[in-house]
Amino acid sequence: MSVLTPKTRAEIERQRDRYPHARSAVLPSLWAVQHQLGYLSPEGMKEVAELLRLTPSEVEAVASFYSMYFDRPGGRHHVLVCVNVSCALRGAEEIVSHLESRLGCPSGGTTADGAFTWEHTVECLGACGGAPAMQVDHHFQENLTPERVDAILDGVRGAPAAEGPAGRPHRSSGSAAQRAS
C-alpha cells in the first residue's frame, strides 16, 4: 500500500521527467516525501526508489548524506538557529539559551505539545547581514532578540503544520527594506 499521496507521486513523476536522467530527481523527490510526511520514512523512500527505478538502498544512501532531510518525525514546525561566526558575534548564544528555556528541550528536541522541533546549526544559513538569524519552516527570520523570537513562535504556534513548497506563497526575505530597518 502506498504511503505517498497521489499528489506526491505525481510530483515525483513530474520531477523524474524534467531531467535527462531520472536519477537526478532523487533530491527533489525526497523533498516531496518530506513535505508530505514531515520526514523520510523507509516506506516513503522505497516508493521513491520504485518510481525512479533505483534500489531502496541507493535512495537511502543519498538521503543520509544531506543534513536537511529528517529521518524521524518531529514537531509541526521546525526552527533552525545559526551559531556560526557572524551570528555568534551578534548574540546567537543568547538566542539559543532563550529557545532552550522557552521550548523546554535541548537542541534537537521536540516540545511536549509537538508544536516545535528546534536545533542549532554551525551550517551558516546565509543571513549574516541580519545576524543573529534563524529559519522557521524554511523562512528566514533575522535580527533576532529574545522578544522577537517569542513573537515569531507565538505567531507560528497556532498555524497549521508546515506545508510543502506547493502550498506556500513566496515571500522574498532579506529585502533591502528589511535590511535597512
Partner: protein, 430 residues
C-alpha cells in the same frame, strides 16, 4: 569612493522580481544583443576581453574556463552554482532575491556562449524561498520566449532547471555539485578529468557562480573593454562584499575592485560598533586566513590580499571587535568544517574531528600546553593532503589565528574557562 552599483543598481526597486519591471528597465536586452549580433565565439572573446574572474572564490577567468570545452563534443551543460554556503557569505541570496531575472538573463547568455541546451541552477536547500522565486521567474521568462525553443526567433534553444540541494556545503565544490545533481551523495571527484571535459552525465560542463553570471548582461551591453576599465587591472569590475560581524551597518555592498578595505569598513559599514576598535577580520569568508587592523589599507583586489596571506575568496568580510575571543571564533569555524566534511578522504574526515575536539577543550580552558602544541601537527597533516579544498581550508583560519594570537591561545590552557570572555565580563561590570 562610494559603492559602485552595477549588479545592485536596481535592488529595492518595486516589482523588480517581475518580468514586466525587469523588461521596462532594459532587461533581456543583453540576451537579445548576444543572440542577434554575436556568434558564440565572439561572445566568449568579449567575456575574455572583460577580464572577469569567477566570483565563487577561486577567481578563475570566466572566458578562459569556457574556452576549455572540447570542440564539437555535445551536449554540453551549464551549471549555475547557487549553493552559497561559505560562512559569512550571503551575496548570491541577495542577487536572487533582489534581481532574479538578471541572473536568468546571465545564465542564458552563458548557455548561448557554450551552446548548452540545458542550464541547471543548483541552489542550496536553505534558500527555499529563493528557489521558489527562481522557478516562478523561469516560467515567466519561458512564457515570454526567453527560455525554451528558438529563443527570440534565433536557432538557439535552452531550458533552465532549478534544482534544490538539501544541506551540504561541499556541494559548492564543482565536482561535488555535479555528483549531487546526478542524484548521488555530493562528494568531490578526482580531477582531471575536469568538468570542462567530463562533467555532468559525463559531458563537457561549465560551472559558474551566480554573481559571475549576473555580470554578463552588463558585459554584453556595455562591452568587455568598458568592463575592464572598471575596477583594478587584474581584478576587473565590481564585487559584492557581504559585511557582517561587529559593524554598525551589516549588509551587502558592491565596490569597485581596488578600493581600500578601510573605505568599505568606514564608509559603508559605518565602522566598528559600540565605539570599539577592530581586533581582526576575515576578508573572504570562513575559509580564509585572519587579517589584522594593519591590513585595512590593502585594496579590495584578489592578488594584493593574497600577498598579505589571505584571500578575497567569496567576498565575505567578517569584522571582529576587541572583545572577540579568537579561540571561540576558530572553534566555530572548525566545527563547521567537521560538520560539513563529506567523509571521502581520511585527512579531512579524521583531521576536522581532532581539530574540533581540541578546540572545544581549549575554549573550555581544559587543554594542556603540550596538547595545544599538537594543533600544528594536526593541521600539517591536513593542509595540502586532502582530496579537495574543504579539508585544506579547515586549517587556514585556525592556523593563522594561532600564529597571530598565540598568546591568547596559550592563555586558554588550563584556565578553566574562556579568559577573554571572563576579562570582558569583568570589565563590563566595572
Amino acid at each position: 569612493m562610494a559603492e559602485y552599483k552595477l549588479l545592485t543598481k536596481d535592488f529595492g526597486m518595486d516589482g523588480i522580481q517581475t518580468l514586466a519591471v525587469y523588461e521596462r528597465i532594459g532587461g533581456y536586452e543583453g540576451l537579445r544583443k548576444a543572440l542577434r549580433s554575436m556568434t558564440p565565439d565572439e561572445l566568449v572573446a568579449e567575456v575574455k576581453t572583460s577580464g572577469i574572474r569567477g566570483r565563487g572564490g577561486a577567481g578563475f577567468p570566466t572566458g578562459m574556463k569556457w574556452s576549455f570545452l572540447p570542440k564539437d563534443v555535445h551536449p554540453r551543460y551549464l551549471c549555475v552554482n547557487a549553493d552559497e554556503s561559505e560562512p559569512g557569505c550571503f551575496k548570491d541570496r541577495a542577487l536572487i532575491d533582489e534581481n532574479p531575472h538578471q541572473l536568468i538573463e546571465g545564465t542564458l547568455i552563458a548557455a548561448y556562449a557554450i551552446q548548452a541546451p540545458i542550464a541547471f541552477i543548483y541552489i542550496r536547500g536553505e534558500y527555499h524561498d529563493q528557489r521558489l522565486l527562481l522557478e516562478r521567474c523561469v516560467e515567466e521568462a519561458r512564457a515570454a520566449g526567453y527560455v525554451g525553443r528558438d529563443i527570440l526567433g534565433s536557432d538557439f534553444s535552452c531550458d533552465i532547471i532549478v534544482h534544490g540541494g538539501a544541506g551540504a556545503y561541499i556541494c559548492g565544490e564543482e565536482t561535488a555539485l555535479i555528483d549531487s545533481l546526478e542524484g548521488f551523495r555530493g562528494q568531490p571527484r578526482l580531477k582531471p578529468p575536469f568538468p570542462a571535459v567530463k562533467g555532468l552525465y559525463g559531458k563537457p560542463t561549465v560551472v559558474n557562480n551566480v554573481e559571475t553570471l549576473s555580470n554578463l548582461p552588463h558585459i554584453v551591453l556595455r562591452g568587455g573593454a568598458w568592463f575592464a576599465s572598471v575596477g583594478a587591472e587584474k581584478s576587473t569590475g565590481t564585487r559584492l562584499f557581504c559585511c557582517s560581524g561587529h559593524i554598525n551597518r551589516p549588509g551587502t555592498y558592491e565596490m569597485q575592485l581596488g578600493t581600500p578595505i578601510r573605505e568599505l569598513l568606514e564608509d559603508e559599514c559605518r565602522g566598528i560598533w559600540k565605539g570599539r576598535s577592530l581586533k581582526a577580520f576575515q576578508p573572504g569568508g570562513g575559509s580564509m586566513q585572519v587579517l589584522l587592523p594593519e591590513h585595512l589599507d590593502l585594496p579590495l583586489e584578489m592578488d594584493a590580499v593574497q600577498r598579505a596571506g589571505s584571500a578575497l575568496g567569496a567576498g565575505a568580510m567578517v569584522f571582529m571587535d576587541e572583545t572577540t575571543c579568537m579561540v571561540d571564533v576558530s572553534m566555530r569555524l572548525v566545527d563547521f568544517y567537521q560538520h560539513e566534511s563529506c567523509g571521502k578522504c581520511a585527512p579531512c574526515r579524521e583531521g576536522t574531528y581532532f581539530e574540533s575536539e581540541l578546540m572545544h577543550r581549549l575554549e573550555a580552558g581544559a587543554l594542556t600546553p603540550a596538547e595545544l602544541s599538537t594543533l600544528t601537527d594536526i593541521c600539517d597533516n591536513m593542509n595540502g593532503k586532502c582530496f579537495c579544498p574543504l579539508g585544506d581550508t579547515a586549517t587556514w583560519f585556525v592556523m593563522s589565528a594561532y600564529q597571530a594570537f598565540r598568546g591568547e591561545f596559550e592563555e586558554h590552557c588550563g584556565a578553566g574557562g574562556c579568559p577573554v570572555k571572563r576579562r570582558h565580563a569583568a570589565m563590563a561590570v566595572a
